[in-house]
Amino acid sequence: MSPRLNQPLYLMMLPVLIITCAFFLIPMGRLILISISGEEGSMTYWYALTDSRYLNSLLQTLVLSIATTLTTLAIALVVGMFLARNRFPGRSTLVSLLTFPLAFPGVVVGFLVIMLGGRQGLSAELGLILDGSRWTFAYSIVGLFVGYIYFSIPRVLMTVMSAVEKMDVMLEEAARSMGASRLRVLLDVIIPALKPALIASGAICFATSMGAFGTAFALASGINVMPMTIYTEFTLGANVAMAATLSILLGLITWLVLLLARSVSGANTTPAA
């Protein structure tokens, strides 16, 4: 190719670079500066990791996100294997049903959890019929967990399904014909073959869960996930330095997990929505 063909090429990139620098890099730089410019200086990072309020929030969010990721991966593995391997009438409707909620914002998911497990929800009605008391789970950690699984399933399922479709069925058949049990085939053939997809989609699921704000906001439960803690520090506590510190810690965690997953799995990990 002649170099002349390439001449104004960098101009094509310039607008995006300007936007990214002005509205992402510079603000992020300011955020870092603010995080260490409070009365305590860079000690805010020490407080963020030792003060029981912040530490508990971080640990709760980590546990919730890890539990969500593992549960969603297990669900997506079963459902994804089934939908990718079987053809039957109504299959594409089921796939659409399972992927439509991809675009629901967290607040809407929170509201849907209230529909299921709130004071007037489905489980409350069911409880009234069965033992005369309203069963509610929406406003506890269970409600958060259910909501997080709700918005994670569409994200993970698509990746798992397309990985299953690319999988070599012969390997499984060979393993089975040599007498391997179902469990052995699952552990020794299927999961290793799907590992890159599971790691990639699991990392996206984890990162999305760590940063999810809307669901916790809508459920207004007493559980302070990290984004809620940041929000409260910023708006109610007016503690901008601590809000900035926690934001940076949270951003570092999600970014590093995505980076790590990409280097391990080699697959593309870009979170959606």
Partner: protein, 263 residues
């Protein structure tokens, strides 16, 4: 073909998960159209709540549409050329830029919103303007537009096409508009639908960036959930779903179209 017990179990589990995804949505739709949800559907169906929502919150619907279209316009103008650059350039910088563009998606929206408020919240007039939310939406959706176009560019041999056009005397911008853009139409459509869908449903950034005068639909939803009766919240959710549905169908349609091998 005879199906085994385990495949019936898998089917049952799949249906259970589908019900988990669908039932609360149907309950919400029903609640939005019922006179009194606590008495049940026997209290009669009504559009009263939908009308009430439209009276209370129609400005949020318009702002959401305005934001989505403006975000799309910016993404088209800056995102498509950027994807072309990333596909054409072999330089090390191109890889760095690609990472840089995707970074805002890897970091929680709340953190980015906080950074934007700290950096530009004091700029006169910007904090209260809808443009402040627009900045957030562009940062967050741009990677999806660039990725969608980039994927198509990687799958077609656009250089040969371009060199052909160049040998016929077409200049750089002529080649970009007449050769490159039409050939990655599929990716542009897919990226555009993704942009609209994400912008319409964006909450994490928007909640931090909004002001009482710049409320989007998801922000209005959060308000309604906290302060309105269940029927109104549900009717509002219904309106949101009606807006989202054609976009989601479009995303699925364009995705399946792209996955098919090119003829």
């Amino acid at each position: 073909m005879k199906r085994s017990l385990s495949s019936y179990l898998q089917l049952a589990f799949t249906l259970l998960i589908c019900a988990f995804m669908l039932v609360p949505v149907l309950m919400s739709v029903a609640a939005g159209l019922t006179n009194n949800y606590f008495q049940g559907l026997s209290s009669g169906l009504t559009l009263r709540w939908v009308e009430e929502v439209l009276a209370l919150y129609s400005d949020t619907i318009w702002l959401t549409l305005q934001l989505a279209l403006a975000t799309l316009l910016i993404n088209l103008i800056v995102g498509v050329p950027a994807a072309y650059y990333l596909a054409s350039s072999n330089s090390r910088w191109a890889r760095v830029f690609e990472e840089l563009i995707v970074l805002p998606v890897a970091i929680p929206g709340l953190a980015i919103a906080l950074a934007l408020i700290i950096a530009y919240g004091g700029v006169h007039g910007l904090r209260t303007s809808w443009l402040f939310i627009l900045i957030g939406h562009v940062l967050y959706t741009l990677p999806f537009m660039v990725r969608a176009v980039l994927a198509v560019l990687h799958s077609i041999n656009f250089r040969t096409l371009e060199e052909g056009a160049a040998s016929l005397g077409a200049g750089f911008f002529r080649r970009f508009i007449d050769v490159v853009v039409p050939n990655c139409k599929g990716g542009i459509i897919s990226g555009a639908l993704m942009t609209l869908t994400l912008s319409v449903g964006e909450f994490n950034l928007t909640w931090m960036l909004h002001t009482p005068l710049t409320k989007t639909l998801p922000v209005g939803l959060a308000d309604a959930y906290a302060s309105m009766r269940l029927e109104i919240s549900s009717a509002y959710t219904l309106i949101f779903l009606v807006m989202l549905l054609p976009l989601m169908i479009g995303v699925q349609w364009s995705g399946s179209r792209l996955r098919k091998p090119h003829a």
